[in-house]
């Protein structure tokens, strides 16, 4: 059965304190891994797609990387406005998206 787990469940950082979020997956035939940001009371907002191991994508303070078993979302020098829940999802051959439970990130000023 396809599974997606995320760690930690919650993370509290001081402004400027860099860290990484983890998304681990067990699927056969990965076709894409997706990162989303979700603010309270809002729908998930698409951030990145990664299609193959070794691929990296960057956007402002965020950088996503992919290996054959996991993906990392690196947050460099975060600001309070980066506070949100970050979701990852995988899409495998013949399957729909499977979402992880998310990591709640709080960045304190």
């Amino acid at each position: 059965e396809d599974q997606v787990t995320q760690s930690p469940e919650a993370l509290r950082l001081q402004e400027g304190e860099s860290s990484s979020l983890n998304c681990s997956y067990t699927v056969s035939g990965l076709r894409g891994l997706f990162w989303y940001r979700q603010d309270p009371g809002k729908g998930p907002e698409f951030l990145f797609t990664l299609y193959s191991a070794g691929e990296e994508k960057e956007k402002e303070r965020l950088k996503a990387t992919l290996t054959k078993k996991e993906s990392f979302l690196h947050i460099t020098a975060p600001k309070p406005e980066d506070s949100a829940t970050y979701l990852c999802a995988v899409q495998a051959r013949g399957q729909n998206f499977v979402f992880g439970p998310g990591t709640r990130l709080s960045v304190l000023p």
């Binding site: 997706f34 809002k42 729909n96 979402f99």
Partner: protein, 112 residues
């Protein structure tokens, strides 16, 4: 840009009542999805559609029905609401199965 629009945003129902949640997208996407999001469980797929006139079951379809009569609209129905259906419901759309899904802002539904 409207993107994906869901109505209503909030609703309270009594057990046994019925209702329809509406989803509209203006991106000409073929694929549309209905999810529910519950604390600690992540997003779970209820039903989806790969094009106008098509529907298919997802992970948690029981108690729900859907219709996609027009490409831009995807309706989710609850025929006889139960307290276990209290949740936040999200609609999403995408160009294809492997393209990113774009989400609406959800419908918060409480069943008393």
């Amino acid at each position: 840009n409207a993107g994906v629009t869901q109505t209503p945003k909030f609703r309270v129902l009594k057990t046994g009542q019925s209702m329809t949640l509406l989803c509209a997208q203006d991106m000409n996407h073929e694929y549309m999805y209905w999810y529910r999001q519950d604390p600690g469980m992540g997003l779970r797929l209820i039903h989806y559609s790969v094009g106008e006139g098509t529907t298919a079951k997802g992970e948690v379809p029981d108690g729900y029905n859907v219709s996609r009569l027009k490409k831009q609209n995807f309706l989710l129905g609850l025929e006889s609401a139960a307290p276990s259906q209290t949740s936040v419901y999200f609609c999403a759309s995408g160009e294809s199965a492997i393209q990113p899904q774009h989400f609406g802002d959800g419908t918060r539904l409480s069943i008393l």
